[in-house]
Subunit: 136 residues, 2 copies
């Protein structure tokens, strides 16, 4: 069976549900405190679920924020080749889905000619709605 279709364990479901219920990325300990009523008690249970969900491409980690966000393209084909835009004003994060960009980066070779297996790209700027507000 395809890794993508593997069914989720109880803790994995709980954690994924919470992450998917949030528009913005969430922190591990925020996840923990929100799933405690549902039977998850301690950090390792959350971090284990996070690790697996990342492997499956269901969620991504925003490295610059130590936070976690649901994959917006259902399950990323390549969980280690991802790009985000991050608003410096409101911390909103959105996943960039641009095949031209993906191809450019996956084809990129460094000065030694090394081609990479994956990448993590985080763009920073002001999101459209924050821009609007500032103009007013």
């Amino acid at each position: 069976m395809n890794k993508k279709n593997k069914s989720l364990s109880k803790n994995q479901k709980l954690v994924l549900d919470f992450i998917q219920g949030n528009k913005k990325p969430v922190k591990a300990y925020s996840i923990l405190s929100n799933v405690q009523k549902k039977g998850i008690n301690a950090p390792p249970q959350v971090y284990r679920a996070l690790d697996k969900l990342i492997e499956m491409g269901k969620i991504h980690k925003i490295e610059s924020q130590n936070s976690f966000v649901a994959c917006s393209t259902s399950d990323c084909e390549t969980p280690h080749a991802i790009a985000f835009s991050i608003c410096n004003n409101c911390d909103e994060v959105s996943e960039i889905n641009d095949s031209k960009l993906f191809k450019y980066l996956l084809d990129f070779r460094d000065s030694n000619g090394v081609k990479f297996a994956g990448y993590n790209l985080e763009f920073f700027g002001i999101c459209k709605s924050c821009e609007q507000i500032q103009k007013v």
Copy 2:
């Protein structure tokens, strides 16, 4: 005076010296323990110096590793538009200096037409020397 040429404070010099003395990225608490004989006592002193050095473009933070590395192009013009290659085998990190890539990314616009002020890009793969070793 240009921000780039601002002279460094005592703690900033100590921290920068240590980072520049290492080929691989170093962790904040490793910096701390190595500069303690030289008069820095506590984490905030290290983190403050790190913050300033990042602002100045003298060092960069490797977000996926919570580690810090000296800028390899002396002082980055744009400390918030940086790219690295990271070896999944030996954790070696090297700064990518590719003007075509930089231009591509700084000119990139998302699906809303938003152009970004900066980015952080981390490529993952196997470095050339690790590749060699595996072949033998």
